[in-house]
Symmetry: C2
Subunit: 144 residues, 2 copies
DNA sequence: ACAGATTTGATACCGTGTCTCACTGAGACC
DNA sequence: GGTCTCAGTGAGACACGGTATCAAATCTGT
C-alpha cells in the first residue's frame, strides 16, 4: 500500500472525501524530502488553491500524517510523519531533521506533576544541534 | 534596585541608550502580569511607535530580560524573565505560566548525542497542563 | 433528477514582525 | 556656540503565514 493510499484511507475513515485537489496536495507533500513550508506546497500545487493547501495541511496534521517542526528561529515548518508522539532533532547546519521516538521528558513530567500540582497533558520539545556530517565539514567552534 | 533600573543597566552595558521610549516599553512590560503579546504593548505604549516596541522587545529578548513562550496553538507570547535557561509549564485553563528551572532534558541530550552523532547545542521545551486551581474548578474529563 | 452536504478557489483579511526613510536629539569636536 | 555624527524614533509600507468569507462546483444518497 502506498503512502498516498494509506493517507487517503485515514482521511476517508474520518469522513473526508478524497478529491483531486487533496490528492495533489498529498502527492506534493510526499514528494518533498525533509521539511517544507506551506508556501512551498502552494507553489508546487498549481492545481489547488492556497486555501485548499492550508486546509489540507491542517487536515493532515490532525490525522498525524504530517507534523510541524519548530525551527530555531521560531518559524514553523512541516514534515511528513508516520509516527505518533515523537520529537525532532534539527541540524542547524544542513536543516536535516532526525526523529526521536523515545520521549525524553516523560519521567520528568511525573516529577513535575507532583511538584507543581499541574496535570501535565502535553508538551513540545525540539532539539537543535549539528549532525555528524556537518561537524565533519565545519568543525565545532569555527564560525564559517 | 528596581527591575527597570536593572534592565536599564543591562542595556547600557551593551552600548544602548536609555531613551524615554525604551523606558516606556520596559515599564509597560513590567506592569504586565503573566504573558502578553507584542500588540498588547503597542496598545499600552501610546508614547512609543509600533516599530520601537518591536525593536525594544527584541533587544530585551536578546539580553534575557524577556523570554518567548510557545503556546499550545503555536502562537508566541512574551513573558518577563529574570532567569537564564529555563522552561515553561503553561496552564491550558487559565493561561498561567510556571517557570521550571531544572532542565528536564539535559540527561537525555547526552544520550542522544551519542546515539545520533549530533552535537546538541540547544533545545526548546514547553509543557502544557492544567494547574491545581483549574483542576478544582473544572474536574479533568469535563469539557466545560 | 433532486436535495443537502462537502469541497473548492479567489480574494479579503488578520496577526506578527521587519524594512525604509526622513527626522530628532544627545554627545563629541572644533 | 556651531556643526557633525550616529543611535534612536515613528509613520507607514511591506512580507509572511494563516484564516474567514462566499459563491460556485462537486459529490452522495435516495
Amino acid at each position: 500500500m502506498s503512502d498516498l493510499e494509506r493517507i487517503s484511507l485515514k482521511l476517508e475513515a474520518r469522513g473526508h472525501r478524497i478529491t483531486p485537489s487533496r490528492r495533489a496536495v498529498v502527492a506534493a507533500i510526499l514528494a518533498r524530502k525533509g521539511h517544507f513550508t506551506a508556501d512551498d506546497l502552494v507553489v508546487r500545487c498549481r492545481g489547488a488553491g492556497r486555501a485548499t493547501v492550508f486546509r489540507t495541511l491542517r487536515l493532515l496534521t490532525e490525522i498525524g500524517a504530517v507534523c510541524r517542526v519548530l525551527m530555531e528561529d521560531g518559524a514553523l515548518r512541516y514534515l511528513v510523519s508516520e509516527r505518533g508522539h515523537h520529537h525532532h532533532l534539527v541540524c542547524t547546519g544542513c536543516g536535516a531533521v532526525q526523529d526521536i521516538d523515545a520521549c525524553a521528558v516523560s519521567g520528568a513530567i511525573r516529577d513535575l506533576s507532583e511538584a507543581t500540582g499541574y496535570d501535565v497533558e502535553g508538551h513540545w520539545l525540539e532539539l537543535y544541534g549539528r549532525c555528524a556530517a556537518c561537524r565533519a565539514a565545519v568543525p565545532a567552534g569555527v564560525t564559517a
